[in-house]
């Protein structure tokens, strides 16, 4: 993409020209403060915008960084080289400490826990006695000194701060513009589907939380140096609210948003002096307006404007490369289910089901509404845990594993309703699944650049190969939301195959498809089975299953009432009875 890069260079150039040529000492200070805010917002975007978790602890991390710098600098005379890394490490350590119990909580609990953390930290520092200077804080911070060299206030300090900001933006952009950013998008929009393609949501959220803490601490440290003084204000709610407002107004998922939001909300109060003392009131009104009218923030609005003005840039033709499924003859039976049971409230959704499946088999699963078909699929794929019973996959017990772990072991699925992220390009949606299987998602992969360049091209090529195999190659560069149902179904199957599964569970794949598409789909599924892939097809459409499945299982009220070939099942009186009701009314 050339436009963002061009804009970034232009912005950097104007900043430099302004700072060197036009700004007074006071204005340089404001610009430096603005830089600290940009850094804080960049970090906050990772947990709030990308991971979609409402953290209210950003102010606490910021303040912690500020205080660590102040205490080490003013009390112990430590230099920048010592205090800065520690100002980052301590918030990260704190985040790591509380992350494990707190991140798995539902959103309002998570917000509460982080708010509580912030309050405790604030209390601790206000009551910290001489250590923290109590309610008055710590004055008289010496300037930045790196191994004896002093970085003076004014232009030198500004350059240091903005250099750190540039690095932070670079790092954040690397993380979120690449394939990991797509994984975050999936996690936000549809966490169940994300786990079904093997994305470890908990680990991604953990990384995002820790990174947000690190950025917050760095920002606080730099602001402490700029201001020369630190007070509990830095830890207070106002700091968090400012950060939140900047993030939402600027745009919570785009790097440019951090710059826009922070600069706007730093400079606007400066320019609009008559709003003196009412800055926060204006923030509140602006935040409300942004949430209602422009949820993607200024950066989002600009991006949409740009997309309207500039046609979509055609990527270089992606040459497809084939993806090899795992070889046949892995431990048989492939899937074994014994005495499986699961209750919801008063209803036994699954009341004792046995089933066995071999590689290359196509098993049909039918049954009336409420018979337990989707519950069975959820149990096998780990979205629900069984009350009783055992599920073995390739000889290994999987009923106590998480959904993403089961996906990684080789069980893929599609859902009844489309689980594709509407705004993401088809190729990218499948590439994310490839990346998940190749384990190149997450911070480590980003830092080792395992998710870009030649690696990314390989993922894209494999994704393209899958799309072509499923007959969806032509739509690879379109957004998922634009697809008609038949193609969307095919893309979902391609994405599921990206996991290199041994077992694929399809939930009503023929629903909403035209008759002609049924034959194509059945042909594709048969060829996949011929290569060794086992399929479980949940369907209502009996004619579709007739030509496809080797064996059919009929469920009713959570139990298997009949098994046999499709022809046998169709004539089975028990099956007729379960669908049509008994003869005796």
């Amino acid at each position: 993409m050339n436009a963002p890069r061009g804009v970034a260079l232009l912005g950097a150039a104007s900043l430099i020209i302004y700072a060197v040529g036009f700004a007074s000492a006071y204005e340089l200070r404001v610009l430096t403060f603005a830089g600290c805010q940009v850094l804080m917002v960049l970090g906050y975007q990772l947990i709030f915008g990308h991971a979609g978790a409402l953290s209210l602890a950003q102010g606490a991390f910021f303040g912690l960084g500020a205080y660590v710098t102040a205490i080490l600098g003013a009390r112990y005379g430590a230099g920048f080289a010592a205090s800065f890394p520690l100002s980052i490490l301590l918030p990260v350590a704190l985040a790591a400490l509380i992350a494990v119990p707190v991140l798995r909580l539902a959103s309002h609990y998570f917000a509460l826990a982080t708010l509580g953390l912030a309050q405790v930290v604030l209390l601790a520092f206000v009551n910290g006695g001489t250590w923290t200077g109590g309610a008055l804080g710590i004055p008289g911070l010496p300037g930045v000194s790196i191994f004896g060299w002093t970085v003076a206030r004014g232009l030198p300090l500004l350059s240091l701060v903005w250099a750190v900001v540039a690095f932070g933006a670079f790092l954040s952009g690397r993380m979120t513009n690449g394939i990991t950013g797509l994984a975050f998008t999936m996690l936000r929009e549809n966490p169940l589907a994300a786990s079904a393609i093997g994305i470890d949501g908990a680990r991604l959220r953990f990384s995002a939380f820790l990174l947000s803490a690190g950025y917050g601490g760095a920002a606080g440290a730099l602001e402490a140096h700029t201001a020369g003084v630190v007070s509990p204000e830095a830890l207070g709610f106002n700091q968090l609210v400012t950060c939140l407002a900047m993030t939402v107004i600027g745009g919570s998922t785009r790097v440019a948003g951090a710059f826009l939001g922070a600069l706007l909300l730093t400079y606007l109060p400066e320019r609009l002096r008559f709003l003196e003392g009412q800055a926060l009131l204006a923030y509140g009104a602006a935040l409300l307006a942004a949430v209602i009218l422009a949820p993607e923030g200024l950066a989002g609005l600009l991006a949409r404007l740009w997309a309207k003005l500039e046609p979509v840039v055609r990527k270089d033709q992606v040459r497809p490369s084939p993806l090899i499924l795992p070889p046949l003859g892995t431990r048989e039976p492939l899937l074994e289910v014994r005495a499986l049971a699961r209750r919801f409230g008063g209803i036994e959704a699954i009341a004792g089901v046995d089933l066995t499946l071999a590689s290359g088999e196509i098993l049909g699963l039918i049954g009336p509404n409420g018979s337990g078909k989707t519950t069975l699929a959820n149990l096998v794929t780990g979205l629900t845990k069984p009350d009783r019973g055992v599920i073995r996959f390739q000889g290994r017990r999987i009923d106590d594993l998480g959904a993403f772990e089961i996906a990684r072991l080789g069980i893929a699925r599609t859902f009844q309703t489309s689980a594709l992220p509407a705004e993401v390009m088809v190729l990218a949606a499948v590439a994310v699944a490839r990346a998940s299987e190749a384990r190149v998602l997450g911070t480590a992969a980003v830092l080792h650049a395992r998710d870009r360049g030649a690696h990314r091209r390989k993922l894209d090529a494999e994704a393209m190969g899958l799309l072509e195999r499923l007959g969806a190659g032509a739509v690879a560069l379109r957004p998922c939301g634009d697809l008609p149902p038949g193609l969307a179904r095919r893309v979902e199957i391609a994405r599921a195959l990206a996991l290199r599964p041994s077992l694929l569970i399809l939930d009503e794949p023929a629903a909403g498809l035209a008759e002609s598409e049924h034959t194509n789909l059945a042909d594709t599924l048969r060829s996949l089975a011929a290569e060794g892939l086992a399929l479980i097809v949940i369907e209502h459409n009996m004619p579709f299953l007739l030509g496809l499945a080797g064996r059919v299982l009929a469920l009713d009220a959570g139990r298997v009432i009949a098994t046999g070939t499709p022809a046998e099942i169709r004539r089975d009186p028990r099956v007729m009875a379960s669908y049509l009701g008994s003869a005796a009314a």
């Binding site: 979609g52 959103s107 309002h108 917000a111 009412q278 509140g284 935040l287």
Partner: protein
């Protein structure tokens, strides 16, 4: 030297005021499914409005109380219109942010209108002390408990025994089904909001006599309401009251035994324990609640 009786009374009275805040919080939660971050700031607004009214119309506290409640209810309806109804089809997290924004506006609006100095609200039944059984107790503390009890019981009666209350409860339990039975869902949500805000306003006036009204008290209060509701049981009205009393007990009784900071740390310890061991809270929804 504070006696145990006075301590208990303080705890009960503080808890009663917190209960009003927490109750309003849960009412809105049940009716809309979203968290009202501005609940604490509505309390603050109620306090400021009362402090302002008493200067204009020097009426007795008991007469000012309904006025404060009505005024805050109107503010609550404005918040509903601005922060909830436009976002009804969006995920609850956006409402969280929009109510943070409303809270900001309320806070800074208060500073703009009333200045940053703390204010005092008039006592509801007169100040001073009462002597009873050899103890000296604050009249305001006692009145606070009585008034809060009356309001809480009144709210219970409204919901349990009146037609309106029945419709409000149905809307809170299943909004779509309520509509399918002819219940005017938006009106019921608005009523719930007004009721919750009125309770917040009462809380503001009651708290403002002994603890002063400050613009930033809302942030601390919302946190306490949140903690009370999580401990008591997310969505449970009785739980909100129980949780509020517990929070107050920690802030008064436990704080007197150890230190304030330690007591708060212990309270958060209890919170984390509940989140990990019994996430549905003390009175939380049992598993068999499916119809």
């Amino acid at each position: 030297m504070i006696t145990l009786a006075q301590l208990a009374l303080n705890a009960l009275s503080l808890g009663a005021a917190y209960a009003l805040v927490a109750l309003g919080f849960v009412l809105i939660l049940n009716a809309t499914g979203a968290v009202n971050f501005a609940q604490g700031d509505l309390v603050m607004a109620g306090g400021y409005l009362t402090a302002w009214f008493v200067v204009l119309l020097p009426l007795p506290g008991l007469v000012l109380l309904p006025l404060a409640m009505v005024a805050t209810a109107l503010l609550g309806l404005a918040a509903l219109a601005l922060a909830y109804f436009p976002l009804m089809r969006r995920p609850p997290s956006t409402v969280f942010v929009s109510t943070i924004a409303i809270g900001l506006i309320l806070q800074n609006g208060a500073v703009r209108l009333f200045g940053p100095e703390p204010r005092v609200t008039p006592p509801v039944l007169g100040g001073g002390e009462v002597h009873w059984a050899g103890l000296t107790l604050s009249r305001q503390s006692i009145s606070l408990i009585v008034v809060a009890a009356v309001l809480i019981l009144g709210q219970r009666w409204l919901l349990a025994r009146t037609r309106l209350g029945r419709q409000m409860r149905a809307t809170a339990e299943d909004r779509t089904m309520a509509a399918a039975l002819g219940i005017p869902v938006r009106a019921m949500i608005a009523l719930t909001f007004a009721l919750a805000a009125a309770l917040a306003g009462a809380g503001g006036m009651l708290l403002g006599n002994q603890f002063f009204v400050t613009p930033t008290e809302g942030s601390a209060l919302i946190l306490k309401a949140y903690v009370a509701v999580v401990i008591g049981g997310w969505g449970s009205l009785e739980g909100a009251v129980a949780g509020a009393l517990l929070v107050a007990a920690f802030e008064t009784i436990v704080a007197a035994l150890v230190s304030y900071t330690a007591a708060i740390a212990l309270l958060y310890g209890v919170l984390v324990a509940i989140l990990l061991l019994r996430p549905e809270g003390l009175f939380g929804e049992a598993a068999g609640r499916r119809a």
